[in-house]
Amino acid sequence: MAPGVERSFTAASTLEEAMAARRQGAAVLAGGTCMMRDPRRGIDLPEAVVALHRIPALSKVEIEPDHVVIGAAVTHVVLGRALHGAAGFEGLVAAAQGAANPGIRRVATVGGNLCAFDFAAADLSPALLVCEATVELETFKGPKLLGISDFLKDRHTLLTEAIVTRIHLRRDLIASAHIRLPLRKAGDYPVAIVSLAVDKDKRCRIAVGSVEPVARRWTALEQAMAAGPPSALDPERAAGFALEHNDFQGRDGREAEGWYRRQVLPPLVKRGVAALLKTEGLA
């Protein structure tokens, strides 16, 4: 920032106000847990920011019989608490309650986790992928809805003119699980994440995070499992399929090399299926 220039800071109370600031070039500030570390990475803080925490509509979780709406400014803690006990969302709850550490989870938001696009280890991405979430954006041209997969792929460009406002989930899951593998018990970024869900038709959805730069569905494995009999929901068999259909290119990072991230996927699938089977009626 040039000397003498005062940083502009808007705590928007409405989405309109936030969009106005955004049009003027302000960057979105959510919990700040990612943005405040930018200087350490050699990136200057933005000259103008707009904070979302005062916009009531973005800070709540609405749970309806057939769908759930999550505001983008909802923190991990609030999300985990709100969905605790809601059938089918066990995986998302585990992601919200297992990411980072308790202090960060009280601050870091759903929007921030999805929008930090150079952050490969985000827990919520694979968890929302298996929910087949829809992401609602407010863009300079108006609101826009798109599937989470497309959002994750294109967010780099999408976010230059948008704010993520809400995440929409259908309640069509009967069980889900979120298996994360940090190198310690917790506290470091997971080197690999496998999220799994079973929908009402007993079809299995599987997504993988942190192994590649962007989380994605494991379509090859899903298809292999769907081709088998329903009894394919067996931990050992699922791990066998995972080994056979491992089409991931592990990314090399400071915490782990690519081969390791790839190598641990079958055992994580095994654990995930075992966790799913704990849900009543699935075993």
Binding site: A186, R254, E257, Y260, P266
Partner: protein
């Protein structure tokens, strides 16, 4: 012994309340608005020649008050050899090396001015590894090594070998040539460990009445004083060092580093200057426990007698010799410890590389030498079919056995300690059931370390209110010696309660020489000096009281704050009355005491280039670990951990158990989680808490510990230092336990999940140490 019963207690810490309330002012809490802030310009290449360094533009930047370069502090410092400039002079030897420093009104201004320094560096191809440094044609990290001042004589040096220490006893060739032996050879490599004290290195310098005053977070106030004098070319007496409570040290602060820079800038500006490493700087330039490469060969008979042993230990000192020069000494006592060996020869070399300099870290090279020796011992047992516990019981050092330098060990200590471990295990039970389908392993290992003795001084002033003031250069780094064992010792000597003993913060203007807080030495060395000071105080006190009571001093005792006639409890008078009388008649009662090493002899001709030929106070440990290894992911979970530690005499058992818990968990970090790697351009890759994985609460286990008392010690009341050694054999115990769990040899630390998974799949190449020559002698400078 009443003196003992008056001293031994679980005294709580007097500093706990303030620390819990956040009121303790560590050095980095003492920054005031009127201070200047200093910021370092550090090298962004690992090796190079400075072609141009022009700071004139930086001096004109807003808020800047001074800029200093190597030319302002031309003296070199070091341990053993003076090879280290305060700020790089002409040559850059590591990534992150300080080149210039700016002092400005605010930190922001100082940082902004960095860009105005004109620096041109001609980069050189860095000598990044010890393998590269030992190539015959390797570029010399220190071209002018021959010209350096040698501070301690005796070590062999040449080119990139900063220092070499050798020990040799008996005819090793003959032992290896025996027809009745089998030869077992093992190679190991270990990485660095970063101390990560919560308070980084920080100093506040001022210039007062023509002298420097440095307040700093250090373990070695006298070293900081002397090094500052050296680099500024001042008599060291013109430097005063005071030490507020220290937010963790673990050996990192056992050397001077940035402190003299603040004195230099204070002299230039006439202002008080603060310099604090950012966390990134702290980790990128940490004086780590060194990475090392080890080859051990042993000749063992079918009966399990170790007829001969030889080893080569390469220790990376990084760009400057530092502590590694001294620590080459310790191989003889650590790799050469633990077991009785027929003939033995060991060489240990500190090797220069273009990497950040290494330093001292809790139990230093003992930690990896214990790992290597214990894993090697298990490999011997595997190869020859011995039971590892029986082999250890049969071979551990006992009374009259010889160490590698020919030192004669006294008393059977390790043998009985192994028995105590079995007894401890019988009370705790084992935890195999918790492995829950994972691979389970348990191992019992031993370790030998020492108490670093050396000079200490103490003064005790007895006050008219009955309190005593203890003045030493000791520092409270967190281990509790200044708030627990020392006041306990003084109180016990003078018949006071520990809370009547005031302990003065280290101030080199007030107390005599001390070599610093480290090597488990404070309780022993400062403790012994304090006992000597108390003896003088006692003598004066009893003499005065004797006159007052018309009794011979021999018939008097100090008890519960009174001088009493031995046979008549409650008789006599209170200490304040005696002190008041003395003050009016002969003057205030003070005593001073001193202590230093005994210099236990080695066998002549056995130790070459050693700073310590034999251990005055050896310390032994027995560690036992139980682990479960996840065969799918390589994660190691520690299920249980047990320690039997030789403490000589436990003055404060509860405090010692706290040190053991903390030291073991730090060792678990070293063994399992904490990884330092160097990038291709010579940087430490893990320079933050995101990538440097310290153990967290969930990675810790409660350590079951048994304190072994009664082994011989010259320490006061038979004490040995207890805070340093708990980390000693953790790498050993975990390494051996994991090897047993997975059924594969473990030859590297740390055992991160990826490494363990590679080991399980036999994808981990064994250490390739082709730069260690096959013949032992070819690895020495002759």
């Amino acid at each position: 012994m009443s003196e003992l019963s008056a001293t031994v207690m679980n005294l709580p810490r007097r500093d706990a309340q303030d620390k819990l309330r956040g009121r303790t002012k560590y050095t980095n809490d003492r920054v005031r608005p009127d201070m200047l802030h200093a910021v370092l310009l550090r090298s962004t290449v690992a090796a190079g020649r400075i072609r141009r360094l022009d700071v004139s533009a930086a001096l004109r930047c807003p808020g800047v008050r001074a800029v200093a370069t190597g030319a302002d502090a031309p003296g070199l410092y070091g341990i053993g050899i003076a090879d280290h400039p305060l700020l790089a002079i002409d040559t850059i030897r590591y990534h992150g090396e300080p080149i210039a420093v700016i002092a400005a009104e605010t930190e922001k201004q100082a940082r902004a001015a960095l860009a105005a320094i004109m620096l041109e560096v001609e980069p050189l191809a860095p000598v990044s590894t010890m393998a590269a440094a030992l190539q015959p044609a390797a570029r010399l990290v220190h071209e002018g090594w021959r010209g350096y001042e040698v501070i301690t004589e005796g070590g062999a040096r040449a080119g990139n070998i900063a220092w070499e220490a050798k020990s040799s006893r008996g005819d090793v060739d003959a032992a290896f040539a025996r027809p009745d032996i089998r030869i077992v050879e093992s190679s190991f490599t270990v990485g660095r460990q970063s101390h990560v004290p919560f308070e980084p290195r920080v100093a506040i310098g001022s210039w007062e009445d023509g002298r420097a005053h440095i307040q700093t977070s250090t373990q070695v106030p006298w070293t900081v004083r002397n090094v500052t004098g050296r680099v500024m070319q001042l008599p060291p007496g013109r430097v005063r060092v005071t030490v507020p409570p220290v937010g963790g040290g673990f050996g990192l602060k056992f050397d001077a580093s940035i402190e003299p820079i603040t004195a230099l800038l204070a002299r230039m500006t006439g202002r008080t200057v603060v310099l604090e490493n950012t966390r990134q700087e702290e980790m990128a330039t940490c004086l780590c426990r060194e990475n090392a490469e080890i080859r051990i060969r042993s000749a063992v008979t079918a009966e399990g007698h170790i007829a001969g042993r030889e080893a080569v230990v390469l220790m990376d000192c990084g760009a400057y010799g530092g502590e590694q020069v001294f620590l080459t000494t310790m191989t003889a006592h650590t790799l050469g410890g633990n077991y009785k060996v027929g003939a033995t020869r060991l060489v240990s070399r500190a090797v220069y590389t273009n990497t950040p300099p290494n330093g001292a870290f809790r139990a230093c090279n003992g930690v990896y030498n214990a790992f290597a020796l214990e894993r090697h011992t298990d490999e011997i047992c595997d190869a020859l079919g011995f039971d590892p516990m029986e082999f250890r019981k049969k071979n551990v050092l006992g009374d009259g056995d010889l160490g590698a330098t020919g030192q004669v060990f006294e008393d059977d200590v390790l043998g009985p300690m192994l028995g105590r471990m079995e007894a401890l295990r019988a009370t705790t039970g084992t935890s195999e059931a918790k492995a829950d389908g994972r691979l389970y392993g348990m191992a019992t290992t031993v370790g030998t370390w020492f108490v670093f003795v050396g000079p200490s001084a103490a003064t005790v002033n007895l006050n008219a209110d009955g309190s005593a003031t203890l003045v030493t250069s000791g520092v409270e780094i967190g281990s509790g010696t200044m708030v627990q064992s020392l006041p306990q010792i003084v109180a016990g000597q003078l018949g006071l309660a520990p809370d009547q003993v005031i302990v003065r913060e280290a101030d080199t203007d007030a107390a005599g020489l001390d070599v610093g807080v480290g090597g488990g030495r404070t309780t022993v060395s400062i403790g012994a000096a304090s006992v000597a000071a108390c003896a003088e105080v006692r003598e004066k006190l009893l003499r005065t009281a004797g006159e007052m009571l018309q009794t011979r001093p021999e018939d008097l005792v100090l008890r519960d704050g009174r001088v009493e006639i031995t046979a008549r409890p409650g008789s006599g008078m209170s200490i304040p009355v005696v002190v008041a009388h003395a003050q009016a008649t002969t003057g205030p009662i003070t005593g001073s005491g001193a202590f230093t090493a005994r210099n236990t002899p080695a066998m002549s001709g056995c130790a070459m280039g050693h700073f310590i030929d034999a251990l005055d106070i050896p310390v032994f440990v027995v560690h036992e670990a139980e682990v479960a290894v996840d065969p799918d992911t390589g994660h190691v979970e520690v299920l249980a951990y047990r320690v039997v530690q030789d403490v000589g005499r436990a003055l404060n058992p509860r405090a010692i158990l706290g040190q053991i818990q903390g030291g073991v968990v730090q060792g678990l970090g070293y063994a399992l989680h904490e990884e330092v790697t160097l990038t291709a351009d010579g940087r430490i890759a893990q320079d933050d808490f995101e990538t440097y994985r310290l153990p967290l609460a969930q990675d810790a286990v409660p350590v079951a510990a048994d304190l072994y008392e009664g082994a011989p010690s010259m320490g006061p009341l038979g004490t040995k230092g207890a805070g340093e050694v708990p980390i000693l054999a953790v790498g050993a115990a975990i390494g051996c336990a994991v090897a047993r769990a997975i059924g594969k040899p473990v030859r590297q630390l740390p055992l991160t999940p990826p490494r363990v998974l590679r080991l399980l799949h036999e994808r981990e190449p064994p250490p390739e140490l082709s730069h260690i020559a096959p013949g032992w002698a070819a690895n020495t400078l002759g």
